[in-house]
Subunit: 291 residues, 2 copies
């Protein structure tokens, strides 16, 4: 049904970094995702299982960037987390204009379900991440997984994806976290460009359904234990990310948030890799807690 194929597998720290490809019904194309499996899960006499952290990447990324640049494997191994990280858009759909800009189309799916004629048959990253990918992972790696024990995080556009996926699906994830998320896309250029292309100007009233700052104001559901790590020297912070707007919206609606602003750090993987240990540790504690 998924036509799942293992594309690569390498030992890394105490586990295996693998990449799989499969056919996606939501996106109408083949997709890659990374999965890191701590080694103890693979021992023949193991009976333990592990929670799953879904991690969404930012503009221009494939599944490779996070795997190669973040160094997360050490901490996933130590903290006993399975980590699944998908690509950031459908690939090779031959839609006119999808490869013109780095911040729209290929590599920039923006984790929405497209409504426009041109994109609606392929650009459905929201349903891909929150439904199809989770189902695929649980169908194929179910022996390793603590049922229903999931978290979601991501970086930049992927941080936006993580926050909205959790806020729109109360109970699906025990924890939502992000590095430098695009926090109020209806009020920044990156967001406006993608929402305009994927959702359409004619549906502007629906854009707020994919905006974390708008969604959190109306959130009713279990505590999401949100954590955001942000570089204070991130050049995109004020114009594109607008994390302050999200933090204020959380406070206004009494949604607990841990917000860490790190002096001197910028927007890139040097920032992400530095705070992966604390970020993952926060997530792991929540996933392994009894509540």
């Amino acid at each position: 049904m998924y036509d799942l194929r293992e594309e690569s597998s390498s030992k890394c720290w105490g586990g295996y970094q693998k990449v799989y490809s499969h056919f996606s019904k939501e996106l109408n194309c083949r997709m890659n995702f990374g999965i890191y499996l701590p080694e103890f899960l693979l021992n023949s006499n193991n009976k333990e299982k592990a929670p799953v952290l879904y991690y969404l990447s930012g503009l221009t990324c494939t599944e490779q960037n996070f795997i190669i640049k973040s160094g997360f494997q050490r901490y996933a191994s130590e903290l006993k987390l399975i980590v699944v990280n998908p690509d950031t858009s459908p690939r090779g759909c031959n839609i006119e204009g999808e490869d013109t800009d780095w911040d729209f189309g290929t590599g920039a799916g923006f984790y929405v379900d497209s409504l426009t004629e041109k994109f609606k048959n392929n650009y459905r990253m929201y349903s891909y991440v929150t439904k199809e990918l989770i189902q695929l992972v649980e169908d194929n790696f179910g022996d390793f997984i603590i049922k229903g024990c999931r978290a979601i995080s991501g970086h930049s556009m992927g941080g936006h994806g993580a926050l909205i996926s959790a806020l729109k699906n109360p109970g699906l994830f025990k924890c939502a976290a992000a590095f430098a998320p695009i926090s109020n896309p209806i009020n920044c250029l990156w967001g406006k460009k993608c929402f305009s292309g994927y959702l359409g100007e004619e549906n502007k009233n629906l854009w707020a359904n994919y905006d974390a700052s708008e969604l959190v104001a109306k959130y009713k559901g279990p505590d999401l234990k949100i954590r955001i790590d942000q570089g204070a020297d991130d050049p995109y912070l004020n114009d594109q990310l607008k994390v302050d707007n999200f933090v204020k919206a959380c406070q206004k609606s009494n949604v607990p948030i841990n917000y860490y602003l790190h002096e001197g750090f910028d927007h890139g993987y040097f920032f992400v890799s530095t705070f992966i240990p604390d970020h993952f540790s926060h997530i792991s504690k929540i996933l392994y807690s009894k509540n």
Copy 2:
């Protein structure tokens, strides 16, 4: 004299990952190198200094691969090491044929001083690494550096470069180490191809001067405290790397070596990143020891 320019600087763990470019007299072109500076060195009231680890990369790499993929910055920061990593060949010299193959020419300087008419004005990576780069670093970052306190390591072709640089210059480095080094290049295809092109068939009697297994047999000098980390599932181990030949040559000539063969690991950066902590810890202990 060097026309040194800072090309980038990002905070990463407890320090700054920088890239500089400069004009190289040895190579007759502009070159990039990475330098990681632990933050304490940059504090205005700091009086401490640090040793320097030179790290050489493998075939096809620029200075970026190690910086992005290995995650070394955490350990350099914790162990108080300055890490300098150059590019792997001259760039843009417009020599006919230098961009045809991935394992010869651009990205494959092989850390030798070329003798052939075609390459001898540019492909002088041996002198670049062991003389010009060290001089440049000490001239420009001298305030941060414990004088004469250096180690050298590298990966694959860079492991070869590290071993020969240390073996040919007794006393220049307090420690030589390598990940999966090409250990006996005169007896493998990668080595023969590059030695043939850079040194020439007519100078075959000189090839052994750049072969670690040959050099260690004749080594007379201070103890080099050699450490090699090797993946047991590395597909290049038997045909190209021939690490066994080097280990045997060390034992035959009573040169102490720590050789760690790691079950299940392959040749790539997932292997390197897993063992960077132990590898760097070994090097740091030697550099900070009083002897």
